[in-house]
């Protein structure tokens, strides 16, 4: 029975059972862990993501209210470059599937494969951020910075917040690669990879809202 416990616990259980046997005490077969969520980390992280979702909801609501207040400045139809947005969307979607491959490699307990797919995911993320920064720089250069109109303020706030999340996701991803190289696929690292997977896929879900609500609907007259 004790073999079924997590790796971290089984070792200590082995020790205690041996000492118990040595002292002539009967073996104790009971569950030392709660059967249900063992650490609660995944649930806790999910709750964090849901609260993050509310931040994005308020930013989306702000954009929804102010998105047509151009103040005599340029409109979305004049500014947005849809092929560039399509490219960005493709990069983020590809990074989602490569993260999925990293998860599959992790399930097979392959450290090198996990790190490799994580790094490819990170490259797609960096590609996404570069294109977004290029777009922002281009807009600001054209005089369509965040201070131009309420539309652009809410646009930069929403898309910028998403970009900031992707940036911190990449920082986390690189950190995790070093952790994986140093400690391998220990349960803690597996948990971290699974948490980042949720974070990364969540960012892709938010991006669906961004490209639909901001870019595609923004170019409609």
């Amino acid at each position: 029975m004790w073999k079924r416990n997590g790796h971290g616990y089984s070792r200590t259980m082995v020790d205690t059972t041996h000492t118990q046997q040595a002292q002539g005490q009967p073996l104790q077969f009971y569950e030392t862990e709660e059967h249900h969520p063992q650490t609660g980390t995944m649930l806790g992280f999910w709750l964090y993501l849901m609260s993050d979702c509310l931040i994005f909801a308020s930013l989306f609501a702000t954009y929804g209210v102010l998105g047509r207040s151009y103040a005599g400045g340029p409109t979305g139809a004049e500014l947005f470059d849809l092929p560039l947005v399509a490219m960005n969307t493709a990069l983020l979607l590809l990074s989602s599937i490569t993260y999925g491959f990293a998860m599959l490699e992790m399930q097979k307990n392959r450290v090198r494969g996990t790190i490799g797919w994580l790094l490819i995911t990170g490259l797609f993320g960096i590609g996404f951020l570069s294109l977004e920064l290029y777009e922002f720089a281009h807009l600001i250069h054209e005089g369509a910075g965040p201070q131009t109109s309420a539309f652009l303020t809410s646009f930069f706030a929403l898309v910028g917040t998403h970009g900031l999340h992707v940036f911190f996701g990449i920082v986390w991803l690189v950190t995790l690669c070093f952790q994986l190289r140093k400690h391998g696929l220990i349960p803690e690292n597996k948990r971290r990879v699974a948490c980042l997977s949720m974070f990364w896929h969540f960012l892709d879900v938010v991006w669906i809202g961004v490209f639909t609500f901001v870019y595609l609907m923004g170019v409609l007259v």
Binding site: W46, L82, I97, H201
Partner: protein, 129 residues
């Protein structure tokens, strides 16, 4: 089928990880990816190709595609179901979805009416010609 699969997974979960990590498989990731590509390409094609005459129709259709794609991501990438974490994941998600809906619909509704009522024409209606 899925019930059987889940019970098998639960029995072996402790042996494999010692942590309640979600189970993923190649097929579900690929299905999710292909569906996402299709559900992304169609809205871009609708808008860039100018498929519909009126922009309100286009907006409704692409919002519909976005909603479907979000559900696809939730199922195939985030592995959402009613069993994980004893249903608390799903409960939190439903609660958040309600909050998001209230935030979005409420803001748009209130601010739209505020805008309409702040129109210059309104002042004349109140004070008379």
């Amino acid at each position: 089928m899925s019930e059987h699969h889940d019970s098998v997974h639960e029995n072996h979960a402790h042996e494999h990880h010692g942590d309640e990590l979600p189970h993923a498989d190649f097929k579900s990731y690929m299905v999710g990816f292909i569906l996402s590509v299709i559900l992304t390409a169609i809205p871009f094609w609708i808008v860039m190709g100018g498929v519909f005459e009126t922009s309100s129709t286009t907006a409704l259709v692409i919002l519909g595609f976005a909603a479907v794609q979000i559900v696809v991501h939730m199922i195939y990438f985030l592995h959402m179901n009613f069993q994980s974490e004893g249903g608390w994941n799903m409960l939190a998600l439903i609660f958040t979805a309600v909050m998001v809906f209230i935030t979005l619909a409420g803001s748009l509704w209130v601010m739209y009416h505020l805008n309409v009522n702040m129109m210059p024409g309104m002042m004349e209606a109140i004070h008379g010609p």
